[in-house]
Assembly symmetry: C2
């Protein structure tokens, strides 16, 4: 607990220094709020009832409650709005699966700053926060969560065939993805691109000569990279064009943070330009959430391995 | 949030300096655990289910989860065990009652130190923490939660008549208490004592010439007072012999903290020598829980009024 408290204080220090004000939202949200943000977010959680029979859910995510907060409580605050949080979130897991039901998240939400500037600010503060927290070997996988879907639309793949492809991609099941791509009625070049794209991983060269339908997303990723280079943190970025985050509200760049000292992501985030509008105040936004316990484990493992 | 964070840091500073290590327990407890601690604690909470159909409850209190923790996880740690926590707790309230469903508690549990030394340590650290947090006018009402029940037993009041009397006392309904005392088949002197005791409030003089059945409790309160005087905080104590705390696990001294700047208690605690044993490791213990938001309001009100 002492180490967790110190770790949070260091992240909080870097982020509040950068102008992010701390917010807190109730642990229990109306399920309808979570559902409006993302159907999966609502389904994942523990549910209970208030004395009027309304369904309450333990928040499974902080971004949706903050989107609601910005629309309701911050309705007249001029953007950009910079918010940070340190809160527990909850998910149903199988008993004895070794997964925690409750996890401590620390994160940022940057509201009202579009890509690429907003993307770069959130990514840079994620990396700088982790450096302040004592991590030295962390890397950030950067992609675009809307890329594959946009490519399928451009190639006029029928809607009914898109969903299973995107689900296979979200599970990183490249075997099933390959089988399904083979069955599509598209040109050999398109089929090649659909199979190749999720495997594109590496430095700036993977953005190389973008095929036409991908040019917009690639240009944004390139611009984000340049802004990160200016802040001196671009060397930690690995492009990963097959990256898709689990929650469905991402509309642009997405990222995950890894540490080679441990075998799991310690957090991630992305751009969600349509989420806040679902609660009444359309504003572009992006954010990050770190799993504080996982960051702590990564920090301990880095120390142990040196 | 900035002020709440600073307030918690100051309390945490004083308490960790005094040797209290921070603990955290899951937000969701098995309802059976809460029930074993106190039937009311289990009933007050929001409930949900895990995937095996076990009933889970949002903790309505931190003391019972910590009692479980000490019996299970600290089974081989030599007492005294000094623990502190800063956690949210939950209770069902009527919609629009103005009562929060969720409240942030900060507190201490001192395990393995009997009365009066343990009582005095917890009370002194409560008062010292609040001074460090910026309060200057707070007072502490000190009584004994088992006093009235013990007196009823000594006077051989039948069990069936005791419960309604204790409930009236817990509600501070001295009118109903008086009516019920009148009906008891006891001596005039006993009747007088039963009516007078809950109104005894003030300085050391209320401990005056204790009637025989109360001598033990009075001696303890006097000893606690002397220990507090040695630490220079006794001037904040007001004896209140009608004080009974809501939860049923208290076995000795109980206290509540007030601030004249606001019209509510900001926290309280007491001795619970039988609670930890219900989870398998009999140890004397006492503790305090402060409502951090209420302490914050009291702090702001004190500033406003000066």
């Amino acid at each position: 607990m002492r180490e967790l408290r110190a770790l949070q204080a260091r992240l909080h220090g870097v982020w509040s220094e950068a102008g992010y004000g701390e917010v807190w939202t109730p642990t229990l949200e109306y399920e309808e709020v979570l559902r409006r943000g993302d159907a999966r977010a609502a389904g994942a959680g523990f549910r209970t009832f208030d004395d009027h029979g309304n369904v309450l859910a333990l928040r499974s995510d902080m971004t949706i409650p903050i989107a609601r907060l910005v629309s309701n409580r911050y309705a007249h605050v001029k953007p950009p709005i910079r918010l940070t949080y340190f809160s527990h979130a909850y998910r149903m897991v199988k008993v004895r699966s070794g997964q925690p039901r409750e996890f401590l998240q620390g994160g940022l939400e940057l509201i009202g700053v579009p890509a690429p500037e907003g993307d770069a600010e959130v990514i840079a503060l994620t990396l700088e926060g982790l450096i302040a927290a004592g991590l030295g070997r962390h890397r950030l996988g950067l992609g675009d969560g809307a890329l594959y879907g946009r490519l399928l639309a451009e190639l006029e793949v029928p809607e009914a065939q898109r969903e299973p492809l995107l689900e296979a991609l979200a599970r990183r099941d490249l075997v099933e993805l390959g089988v399904r791509v083979e069955r599509l009625n598209v040109s050999p070049a398109a089929r090649d691109l659909l199979e190749r794209l999720p495997r594109l991983r590496g430095g700036r060269e993977v953005l190389g000569q973008p095929d036409a339908p991908l040019a917009g997303a690639m240009d944004n990723l390139r611009a984000v990279y340049e802004l990160l280079a200016e802040r001196g943190v671009a060397d930690r970025v690995i492009f990963d064009l097959g990256l898709v985050r689990e929650l469905g509200y991402y509309t642009g760049m997405v990222f995950e943070v890894y540490d080679p000292a441990v075998g799991f992501a310690v957090g991630g985030g992305g751009r969600y330009d349509e989420l806040i509008g679902r609660f009444g105040r359309p504003l572009p936004a992006c954010g990050v959430g770190l799993d504080i316990h996982r960051v702590h484990v990564a920090q301990l493992e880095e120390e142990r391995q040196t």
